[in-house]
């Protein structure tokens, strides 16, 4: 039951063929998206980004007119299914090789600013 909440969230917008009106994005939306994507945008960048992103979104909006009733979304171009591998340990310890070029490492750990719970 609790998982359904997330699914409902997604379905909030009307269905795919309802023809969503051209939505240009506003500054708040762009900043929210930038936050979700962890991208720092300089102030000068924001206006440009709002404009360009809006144009892109308006452009892709035409998809809503496509005849997709009863069409199954594509999972793989050749309809292949997942291969399984045997449960075996095949990878050795690569720590030294990879941490040689890591930005911040101490005693084998990757160091980041404090993670607060």
């Amino acid at each position: 039951m609790y998982h359904c909440v997330r699914v409902r969230q997604r379905a909030q917008l009307q269905g795919p063929n309802s023809g969503i009106s051209a939505v240009s994005l506003d500054k708040d939306q762009v900043q929210h998206i930038a936050m979700l994507a962890r991208l720092r945008l300089a102030d000068e960048e924001i206006t440009q980004t709002v404009d360009k992103l809006s144009r892109i979104v308006d452009f892709v909006d035409q998809l809503s007119a496509a005849p997709t009733a009863n069409v199954v979304p594509m999972a793989h171009p050749l309809n292949q299914t997942q291969r399984l591998r045997a449960d075996r340990v095949t990878e050795a310890n690569v720590r030294d090789a990879v941490q040689k070029n890591a930005p911040a490492v101490s005693e084998g750990l990757y160091i980041v600013p404090k993670v607060l719970d």
Binding site: L25, A66, A97, P103
Partner: protein
């Protein structure tokens, strides 16, 4: 004939005959790169010592009667392929100091076959672009006109081959990134069937669309390389276990009975007139060789570009999340807190186009929009794929122009993202449907090359290569070289 003028196939024969050694050949290419590389800005990393060592080894193997099918032949890798202990930047500031700890499958296979790697070529940042203007390392110039773009994202590979700095180069194609630069630089570029070549070690842009391929000067060269690169790899779940035919052996059959489909909408007002004419002439050559032309319809063609610009950014936005300054890649100085570490490392590390695509992708996947955009796009993709499947019931290959115009000037299209995106209008369908496709030189428009584009059903690489090979036996376009680089 000078070494740099010879095709890969001709060089292979020369090495086999003992006309020259791999070391000599490698040195000749290195001299070419030293002379011209900078003017084109085609390379990010030049591997002089490693290349000579590999060439040396190849000569020793040849003397001992050993060596693989590409023994001692020099190639260039697009800087999107991970190369062990060698800088792998993907054209980005984010990875400007990234030394890969492993080799991509493509790199392994070609090296195991004896290829000598001359260097890593420049490319649009993270393969996002169609003009090689988004690279952190500066734009690549088109050898046919240094004020013009060579196309992208495999612009460096295309320019290097077109200017005879290397006989062949690897590339990747997500929406046309091998075929479009090939068309704009007078080279052959092939994108195989999705799943034909392993994506392991190929830095991911849009996982369900990316494929590795090659840029060469002839179909025969492409056949030689593809035969080595293709094949199942258990490290890539999307890799398909389908037998690899002998592409070289398959080149020599006649085109009699080949059914070529033409999409009417392809030749409408969006196509530059002269380009259209060149392509029509190429089709006549095919007819003269025994092919028949029929009109086919791809009813959902207009949805190709918007579909691509939902699916690709969505997948890319997620693929790019691993670049966070924690384990590798660029890390911002003195991060105040975790949020600062992430947003500043990524804000500084990624260029404008990459950030734009990440945000587009984040948007189309976000709560409330998934059904309308991503899910819808994946359904339209199925429609487009079905269109192709229907068309291939009556034709063996679909032909048309690769690009709407010849090479455009650098800086021309960078302002409006949509104009740039529409460059991919002929090539994108093949990526969406996972179909193999090839571009081959087919004419000149005011001194600039244009390409003929062929798409086949799944696993039709053999047929595509043969068609181009036969076409190239009757035409000379592919032999032309820009004057400055002869």
């Amino acid at each position: 004939m000078e070494l740099h003028v010879q095709t890969l196939t001709e060089l292979k024969a020369g090495l086999d005959r003992g006309d020259f050694s791999s070391v000599e050949l490698t040195q000749a290419m290195q001299a070419r790169i030293a002379q011209h590389g900078e003017s084109l800005n085609a390379f990010i990393t030049i591997m002089d010592d490693a290349a000579l060592a590999a060439a040396q080894l190849a000569d020793e193997k040849r003397a001992a009667g050993d060596g693989g099918v590409l023994n001692g032949l020099p190639i260039v890798h697009k800087d999107i392929f991970c190369t062990r202990d060698v800088l792998t930047t993907c054209g980005s500031r984010m990875l400007e100091n990234f030394i890969s700890p492993y080799d991509a499958s493509v790199v392994e296979r070609l090296s195991d076959a004896g290829a000598v790697v001359l260097g890593k070529s420049n490319m649009d940042e993270f393969a996002m672009g169609s003009s090689n203007e988004t690279s952190y390392f500066g734009p690549v110039k088109n050898p046919w006109d240094l004020d013009r773009s060579p196309g992208g994202s495999s612009g460096g590979s295309a320019a290097a081959v077109a200017a005879r700095l290397a006989p062949a180069a690897t590339g990747t194609d997500t929406g046309g990134s091998i075929r479009q630069p090939a068309a704009l630089t007078n080279t052959v570029g092939i994108k195989p069937t999705y799943g034909r070549v392993s994506r392991y070690g190929m830095i991911a842009f849009a996982s369900s669309l990316d494929q590795a391929g090659v840029i060469t000067r002839s179909a025969a060269d492409a056949a030689l390389l593809l035969g080595v690169m293709a094949g199942f790899d258990e490290r890539d779940s999307t890799s398909v276990d389908h037998p690899v035919p002998d592409y070289v052996a398959g080149l020599e059959a006649s085109l009699k009975g080949l059914r070529v489909g033409i999409v009417r909408q392809h030749f409408d007002s969006g196509l530059d007139h002269a380009t259209g004419e060149a392509v029509r002439e190429a089709l006549q050559v095919l007819q003269a060789q025994g092919a028949t032309l029929t009109e086919v319809d791809l009813p959902n063609l207009d949805y190709c570009v918007p579909t691509y610009y939902v699916v690709a950014p969505a997948e890319c936005s997620s693929n790019m999340s691993r670049f966070d300054g924690v384990r590798f890649g660029r890390r911002a100085d003195n991060p105040e807190d975790l949020l600062d570490l992430y947003s500043r490392s990524r804000g500084e590390g990624f260029g404008e186009e990459v950030k734009r695509r990440i945000m587009t992708g984040t948007y189309v996947l976000s709560a409330g929009y998934y059904d309308a955009y991503y899910l819808q796009a994946q359904k339209v993709r199925q429609l487009i794929s079905d269109d192709f499947r229907k068309a291939f019931e009556s034709v063996d290959v679909i032909a048309g122009p690769t690009t709407p115009t010849p090479a455009f000037k650098l800086g021309d299209k960078t302002d409006d993202p949509i104009t740039m995106y529409l460059n991919d209008i002929y090539t994108i369908g093949a990526n969406l449907a996972g179909l193999p496709a090839i571009s081959a030189p087919c004419g000149m428009v005011q001194g600039l090359p244009v390409g003929l584009h062929l798409v086949g059903p799944h696993w039709a690489e053999e047929s595509l290569l043969r068609t181009v090979h036969q076409y190239q036996s009757q035409t000379d376009w592919h032999r032309a070289c820009p004057e400055a680089f002869r």
